[in-house]
Structures are given as C-alpha cells and as structure tokens.
C-alpha cells in the first residue's frame, strides 16, 4: 500500500503537519513549566511506584521528567507502526510510513489542519466550575496529542463482465466456385453453412443404395456417440435417418411367378353396387367358420387378387396393397 503512494514521487512536499504535531508533543516540555504542579503533589507517592514499576523498562531513572521524555521518544515510533511488525521490519516500514505521511499530507491537508467536525475542543470545557486541582488535572488531556494513524487504501479493481464472441465480419477472402459462377455468398446470404447438414454416413448409404453401387463407399465412416444416455439426440437422429432410409428404399422386390395386377389397379374403387352393399353388410371377419387357407382365398377374391397355386405370392400382394392403403394420404385422418 505504502508503495502506491510513492507513485506520486513527483509531488512537491508542501506541508508537514505531522512534524508540527510532533513539535506540539515536544512543546510539552514548555508546558512542563506548569506541569510540575500536579506532579509535585504526586511525587512522594509516585516515586515509590516508579522504582518498582519502571526498573525493568528503563535504566534511566534519574528523574521523572527525563525518564518521561526518553520514553516519549520510544513510544513515538511504535505508535506509527501498523500491524505490530517485528523490530527489523519496523525500521523499514517506519521509513515508508514517513514518506507516505509526507506525500499524503497534500490530500489530507484540510483534515489535519482544520480539525474534523466534532473534534475535541478544550475551549468547550474551559468554563466548567471546578477546583483548581481538577483544572490542573484537565491539562493532561491536551498534553497528549493523538497520533494520526494512516490507513491503507485498497482499490478493488472493476472486473469486467464476461465477453461474448460475435466473430469477425466476412473479409471476402474466399474461394470462388470452380465453374466461375457467382455464389453471392456474403452478399445475399451470410457465407456460413446451413444448420441443416446431411449426415455423411446416412447419405453415402443412401447414395450406394440409389446407384446400386454397393461396397464402394459404404460405411467408410462409422461414428460413435459418447455417453448416449446423456446425449440422446444423435442416437435418435441416427435411428430416424436410417428408418427413413429404409422406408425410402423400394420394397424388397418380389418376382411374381405369374402376372399380377399392379397395385394401382387394385386400389381402384369398387363398383357402386358393391360400395352400397358394404354399407349394409360387414366383410367376412376372421371368425368365419373356415380354415385359414380358405379365408385367405376369400379375402384375395374380394380384393381381386388372383391366387395361383401357392398363396405366398398372393398374400405378398395383399399386404403390399395394405401398406399402400395405410400410407395413402387420402385415408390418413388426424
């Protein structure tokens, strides 16, 4: 802290009220012209005490007055030390203290020269109706001049807010299209990739499917997801994409042994009489008292699906027809 004040080395030393106040301290000796008065009364008693009490502190006990002076000198130093440092440090700090005192005086001039508001003023008590003995006692109050204790300052720096990043502006240091056409990137739209990017793995699977070029580029990259339980999105996304891929594939093509009607013709409406009848009569349900083979034949017949010998191919067409209807927009109601 004290070192901070040294930053103002350039400052001119103007005033030294601290030193002045020291002089007031010393002026006590002048004051001591009348000070013996209370002491004289006390002398006989206090002498006895002093011989016991002070012997340890000071070898210099020739006279009270002298003794007091020397101790005042002693006291003056520790008083201005802050923090009760060890003696060796005391000396250093003492120096700094004094420097800072001198430098700070400029700011503190007003405070120190003019006593702060509400400071003790002996004049306020000068007219108390008291005995001379008490009045003499009162002189002890002004005899001590309180030290100016300098306090450290500490700047708490203003720590800025966190700074979000917005990036730089397009500097037009960009690769043009190889075909020489304008891409208006950075002009009509920002030159940034769209947030919707194809998944390379899904796309290559799809491409090889579409071009029937299996093997070439297939699954050259298999991504993995770290801790999927915390991060379910890529997994869901993968499942959805692969699902969509499979759906978009043509249904596994089956070569029928005999010509079959195509799905579109099977999806045509029934004749009006039939529709009319279906309004009143339910289709035969699976509870019909017949075996499964017969039931299959029945249903295929109703739906105009020919059954040649084995029923597998006919049933395949039947279920293909079912899937087609199921996904047919016209019937999807919400």
């Amino acid at each position: 802290m004290d070192r901070v004040e040294r930053l103002q080395d350039a400052k001119v030393l103007k005033n030294q009220p601290y030193d002045e106040s020291l002089e007031v301290n010393d002026a006590e000796e002048v004051a001591s012209v009348y000070s013996p008065a209370p002491q004289d009364h006390a002398q006989s008693e206090s002498r006895q005490r002093s011989s016991r009490g002070r012997g340890l502190m000071s070898a210099n006990s020739s006279s009270d007055e002298l003794d007091e002076d020397s101790k005042r000198q002693e006291r003056k130093e520790p008083m201005s030390i802050q923090g009760g440092a060890s003696p060796n440090e005391e000396e250093e700090e003492e120096e700094e203290e004094e420097e800072s005192d001198e430098e700070e005086t400029e700011d503190d001039d007003d405070d120190e020269a003019a006593a702060p508001e509400g400071a003790y003023d002996p004049a306020h008590y000068a007219n108390l109706p008291v005995s001379t003995e008490v009045k003499e006692l009162f002189q002890y109050i002004t005899r001590y001049t309180p030290q100016s204790v300098d306090l450290d300052h500490s700047l708490r720096p203003f720590i800025p807010d966190f700074i979000p990043a917005v990036g730089d502006i397009d500097a037009f240091l960009k690769v043009p299209r190889p075909d020489g056409q304008s891409d208006s990137l950075g002009l009509l739209v920002l030159d940034e990739p769209s947030v919707k990017q194809s998944d390379p793995t899904v796309l290559s699977l799809w491409l090889s499917e579409e071009t029937k070029q299996h093997g070439a580029a297939e699954l050259k990259k298999v991504t993995s997801v770290v801790s999927p339980q915390l991060n379910p999105r890529p997994v869901d996304s993968w499942v959805d994409s692969i699902g969509a891929l499979h759906r978009s594939k043509p249904p596994a093509s089956v070569q029928y042994g005999r010509a079959m009607p195509d799905i579109d013709s099977l999806m045509q409406e029934w004749p009006p009489e039939m529709e009319d009848l279906l309004g009143r009569v339910d289709l035969p349900s699976a509870r019909l008292r017949c075996d499964l083979d017969q039931y299959c034949d029945l249903v295929c017949a109703l739906l105009d699906i020919p059954v040649y010998g084995g029923r597998i191919q006919a049933l395949h067409l039947l279920f293909s027809l079912y899937l087609e209807f199921r996904d047919f927009q016209h019937f999807i109601r919400t």
């Binding site: 070192r3 009364h41 919707k196 580029a217």
Partner: protein, 557 residues
C-alpha cells in the same frame, strides 16, 4: 416457425426429402448444385466423394471438394485438398491463393503469405495480402495493398472488415450503408452493420438491423449468435442462453460450424460455468476465450493465474487494455509491486482518456481506478459519481466509493456506503474494517468501532485497529473508548508506553462527566483502568477523582 418444431431435426437433409427432389428432377442421384444451394456442404462433400469413389467424376471435382470444405469451415480439409492439387503438374496457379485463404483462417499467416506469393496477381490475392499485413501489424504494406483495392463490392467489403477489426466501426458502417443503397438485396450486409452496432454498444439498434436478415433467413448461425449476444447485453445471460439453445435445437448433429463459438458463449451466458473445461482449449481459437478465462480467474481471486494468462498479450482493444490494467492493479496490490501498479495506472488512463471509451461506463471506471491508484480521491469521486446510478448494489463499486469519500473526510456518506456492502470477503478485509471504524469514530459512534475490534480475533490487524481507535477517539473527544483502547494496547504491548494517552483519556472521561456528557457511573470504570498502569501518577489522579466523587456522592467501588 422454429419454435413450433416439435421434434428436433433429423440427420440434416433427410434422404426422404432428397427423395422428393429426386422425383421432381427425374434423376436418380441429386445434383451437386442442389446441395450447394442449400449450403449443405457436408452433403455436397459426401456426394463428391461418393462420385470419386465410384469413378464418376464431376468436372473439377477436386476444386469442388476444396470449395465445399472451405465454405463448410473445414479449413484443414481444404488445405489438404489444395495442397495435393498444387503437386499436380497441370495445376492452375490460382489454386495457390485458395490454399493461402484456407491457411489464413487457420491462423497460419506465415504459410498463407508464402502460398499467396506463388499465386498470380488478382483482387483476391491483394485482399488476402492486405489482411495479412494487418495481422502482421505492417502498416506500410497495409497502405500499399490498400491502394490496390478497387471500387468493387468485394474489395470494399474487405476494407470494411479491416475497419471493423481496427475498431473503426463508423467507417465500416459507412461502407456497408453505401453498398446497401446500391444493392438493396445484399441482406448479409445488414448483419455486418448489426455487428458494428453491437461493437458500438448500440445493442437495440443492432437488434433492429439484424431482425431484417433473420426475417428472411431465420436459422442463420451467425445472426442468431449475434442476437443472443445482444440479449446478453440488453437483458441477461438467461435470455441469451435461450437464443443459443434455439440455435442448437434447430441445427443437425453433423453441424460443426461455429460449434466452438457456441460452446464459448454458453460459458459466458452462464456466468463462467464450465469455464475451466471449455475455455482453455479455445485459447487462440476464439480471441475472447483468453480474456474470459482471465476474468474467470479474477472472479475466483486467482490473480496469479490471471496474470500468467495475460502477461504476454499485447493489448489492442479497449477490453484488453482494461483487463491488463485490472490484472496489474490486483497483482500489484497483492504483492506490493510498484511496477505493476504503474502499468495498471497507465493502461487505465489510456482507456479512460480515449475518445471511444471516455464516455462509457468501463471508461469512467478506468479513470476512477487510475486516480485511485494515484490517491487523488477528489478525481476518483468525480468519475465514480458519474456512473454511480449503475452500481447501487455493487460491492466493488461501493468499497472504492466509500474509501474515496472517507479519504476526503465525508465520513457520514462513507459510513452509509460501507454498510451497503454485502460481501463477507470485503467485510473481513482490514482496509474495510479500519476505514469503517474511522467513519464510526468521526461520526461520534465510538462504541460501534469498539465492537468492530471486539469481533476481530487477535492479530496484527486488531492491534492496528486498537491504535486507530485509541487515537481517533481521543481526537474526537470520545475518551471512554480511547481509554479502553489504550488500556488494551498497554496489555498487548507492554514494551511501549501508552500512559500519556491513557492518562489524557481517563482525565477526559472525568471532564465529560463534569460536563454532563458522560454518566457519572463511568467514573467507576476509570479507576481500574488507571490502576492497570504502573505509573506513579496514577494514585494522584485517583485521589483527585475520589475527592470529587465523595463531594458529589458518587460511589466509586
């Protein structure tokens, strides 16, 4: 329309939707152009690679791959592609400048310059060298390349971005506005203008301009990120985070562009949460990452770590100067280094006195900090008063403000402000305790100062506080607490002589009693206080006191 999306987008452009397009175009495989139009560069790259693998090549397939990788932001990939192209004997010399561009964005400036020098002279090459000169801080060459710029859109935009990087935002805005007047459909320029306004702290204006772009392209990463940043400045981290979340939700999993930027900003918006995990790898990738990590360390009071991170940074933006100033001020005070404090003071002065920052809040804080370090508290107050309204409940502000007030003798206000402080750390700081004690005493509340002492453990600080209480109370005629403090000092420090002060304080109490300013009963406490000292004068004084007590029927023991 983004918000109503129930399910997150599946793996980008789904095969199903591609399938639809395929039907329309009557071709089995989608064309490259469709991916490019969608700016689905990952899709385009996959397609190109697939074609390459089955031996079905587009014309200039390698260049297209480089183009796609570059615009995807995968500069490493682009460099690889262009490098292998340059090895081929029939390679066009233009490829060198493409390679240089990709290197530039990876921060490989030296390599970029070398590559660019092999390319034929072209506007793109000139622009690149212009920006390289800026990165190298080579003013002379910068001016040279500047002269070569022509009055065409690309060159002008490139110049504007230099203005932006040099914090000359108004100049940049002027260029953009001029170009926008000529080409109303250059919507991207709106975003550039919005970025400039953001940097100028006009967040609401930025938001307004940005909205125009977002209206036509609602899922733009750069624009949505800027919107989030505006929200951060205008409202708070929560509002900003919501915007970013939005962006994350609509982007596909394979979307890597600006991922680091988003991670970085999430830390910022969450007030530093996750800083130690996210930010260190982003240092030198995102310029703000280093600064934010420094801010994080400062907030954790890890000044040394903050200093280590920033000491080699050559500041160029006001934010960097401020942060360097703050770190030096904190460190200088912590280790008592005059050199650091001097640097801090200089940086603060530089920012606070600059034309661009002198009227901003951080600028004012800088000037106040500068004068605080110089101990010119009148000036400190001028600057702090000018921004006081923004910091009513800010402990840091109040701590500095109250110290300045107290240093100038405005103890009443200082006391009020000191008492507003909530932070336990500050409240246990000896600087706080000692100044508050002084304020109490100067405001005739010696008892409160004494209570501060009683709450402190025994330490060198509590010893200093006693000296403060003893002398300040004495000065202010609060002799009771002065006497108690001198008495305590005497016990703690028997080697020094506190008798004179204690004697005066005890007699002072007596005087106050006689003046009816102190209850007579207090005299009872004075006797033992005096007796604690082994001075020969004690008995004489006690005798006078007793005499008076007897005359006035006050019981002394």
């Amino acid at each position: 329309m983004i918000l109503s999306r129930v399910k997150p987008a599946v793996g980008g452009e789904t095969p199903a939707s591609i399938g639809e397009k395929k039907k329309k175009n009557k071709t089995k495989v989608p064309r490259l152009e469709e991916y490019l139009q969608q700016r689905d560069y990952l899709g385009a790259l996959t397609l190109l690679e697939f074609q390459r693998s089955i031996g079905e090549k587009e014309e200039h397939a390698d260049l297209w791959i480089g183009y796609c990788a570059f615009h995807l932001g995968d500069y490493k990939r682009a460099i690889e592609e262009y490098k292998s192209l340059t090895m081929q004997p029939d390679c066009s010399a233009e490829v060198w400048v493409y390679l240089a561009c990709a290197m530039f964005f990876l921060g490989l400036y030296k390599e970029a310059e070398e590559a660019a020098s092999k390319a034929p002279v072209s506007p793109l090459q000139n622009r690149l060298l212009f920006h390289l000169a800026h990165k190298f801080n080579d003013e002379k060459r910068l001016m040279g390349f500047h002269q070569n710029l022509e009055n065409v859109t690309e060159d002008q935009l490139s110049l504007a971005s230099i203005h932006y990087m040099r914090s000359h935002y108004q100049e940049a805005i002027d260029i953009y506005k001029r170009l926008l007047l000529q080409n109303r459909d250059f919507l991207a320029l709106k975003v550039y203008v919005a970025l400039c306004y953001y940097k100028l702290d006009y967040y609401d204006v930025s938001q307004e301009v940005l909205a125009v772009y977002l209206q036509s392209i609602p899922d733009s990463t750069i624009a949505l990120n800027l919107k989030a940043c505006n929200h951060f400045r205008l409202y708070n981290g929560k509002a900003a985070e919501k915007e970013l979340k939005n962006l994350i939700d609509i982007s596909s999993c394979s979307f890597e562009f600006a991922k680091e930027l988003i991670r970085h900003n999430l830390v910022v918006f969450r007030g530093g949460e996750g800083a130690l995990q996210v930010l260190p790898p982003l240092i030198d990738v995102i310029p703000e990452a280093r600064l934010n990590l420094v801010i994080y360390y400062l907030r954790q009071d890890d000044v040394q770590e903050a200093y280590n991170l920033i000491q080699d940074l050559v500041p160029s933006t006001p934010q960097e100067y401020i942060l360097k100033g703050v770190v030096n001020a904190a460190l200088g005070q912590e280790i008592g280094s005059r050199d650091h404090l001097k640097i801090a003071q200089q940086f603060f002065q530089l920012v606070g006195g600059s034309a661009s920052e002198c009227d901003t809040i951080p600028g004012r804080q800088c000037m106040a900090s500068c004068f605080f370090l110089l101990r010119q508290f009148e000036d400190v107050l001028i600057y702090l008063n000018s921004v006081k309204g923004y910091f009513y409940n800010d402990d840091t502000f109040n701590f500095n403000y109250a110290q300045a007030k107290a240093a100038l003798g405005s103890y009443k206000e200082a006391e009020e402000v000191f008492l507003l402080i909530q932070s336990e750390k500050i409240k246990n700081d000896y600087v706080y305790l000692s100044w508050l004690a002084r304020c109490y005493i100067m405001n005739q509340k010696g008892q409160l100062a004494w209570e501060l002492y009683l709450k402190m453990g025994t330490s060198s600080d509590s010893f200093s506080l006693l000296q403060l209480i003893a002398n300040d109370c004495y000065k202010m005629g609060q002799f009771y607490y002065a006497a108690k403090a001198f008495d305590a000092l005497e016990k703690l420090d028997p080697g020094s002589n506190y008798w004179e002060g204690k004697r005066g304080a005890c007699v002072g109490i007596f005087q106050l009693i006689l003046a009816n300013k102190e209850p007579k009963e207090t005299l009872k406490e004075v006797v033992p206080l005096l007796r604690n000292s082994g001075n020969p004068q004690v008995e004489y004084i006690i005798r006078v006191l007793r005499k008076w007590a007897k005359e006035n029927r006050v019981l002394l023991s």
